[in-house]
Subunit: 164 residues, 2 copies
């Protein structure tokens, strides 16, 4: 199949310089702030975004190398199919998080509840719209029994592709 | 900034062969079924996914050409900043939808409430987990006054990059 080529529209800055110890989802990153620096030639696209309390950010797991189709997720001790997890090592290392948008100052977006590595290339921003993005009642598979998945779970080394 | 290269992990099939008349979000696609054909060498990654009632699919708007940083969205009559909209013509033409997963048969995922063009290349699948993906109470900017955004709104030609 054909190649699809993207270019970052910005860079995400967070307090997490190493994968180890990072929260593994926004739930574990409550109160952790970060910023996004948007590319100069994309700034006009930010109009009206400040009306939204939350945004969807799509980014590239830039430290991820290779992948396995079966992984033991942080939240489990059994191997699971990769696509049933949010592990960063994927055939296409695309990350997606819903974060709180605090304010926009020029090219800088201040965001909250950030579970992302510092220096991560940003690919897209979309407004979070519950009518589109929240389907109401859900089954959540192997995570169903975990009542604590919003707690402060931190990453270890297992998804580290290159020891950085 | 550097290029990021992805390769589709599958193809999305839907009843929508033309952009015109397509629902513009899953809300407008209630009851519309589709399928995803997953690449043979990615099948092992589908284990455990059937426990989830909803999945996040990330895909490439393959018919989208070029972009403008200011657009008049389907749901409005005023120009809005591109990143405050879900328009398909974006610097990186990444699409994201939350769809219902009905069943998995071999390499075929049967999905429901599909607002996607037939033949769209799939880049990633993630389980939808409300604890991660639904932030609770939200402000939804220029969409705040629209109580009808889940209704059957259909696309016109405005985001058509190449008349197909």
């Amino acid at each position: 199949m054909e190649q699809i080529i993207y270019r970052p529209i910005g860079i995400i800055h967070t307090p997490f310089h190493k994968l180890k110890g990072m929260p593994i989802q926004p739930g574990g990153a409550q109160g952790v702030g970060g910023t996004i620096e948007i590319r100069e030639d994309c700034l006009d696209g930010l109009q009206d975004l400040d009306g939204f309390s939350h945004i969807i950010i799509l980014y590239h797991f830039h430290k991820s190398r290779g992948f396995s189709l079966e992984v033991i997720p942080f939240l489990d001790d059994k191997p699971r199919g990769l696509f049933a997890t949010r592990a960063p090592r994927r055939p296409n290392s695309l990350g997606m998080s819903v974060v709180e948008l605090i304010k926009i100052e020029g090219a800088t977006l201040h965001i909250m509840n950030v579970d992302i590595l510092d220096g991560t290339p940003l690919l897209d921003i979309k407004p979070y719209v519950p009518d589109f993005d929240h389907p109401g009642s859900c089954r959540k598979g192997w995570l169903e029994m975990r009542s604590d998945i919003s707690a402060c779970i931190r990453s270890d080394d297992r998804f580290n592709g290159d020891n950085s």
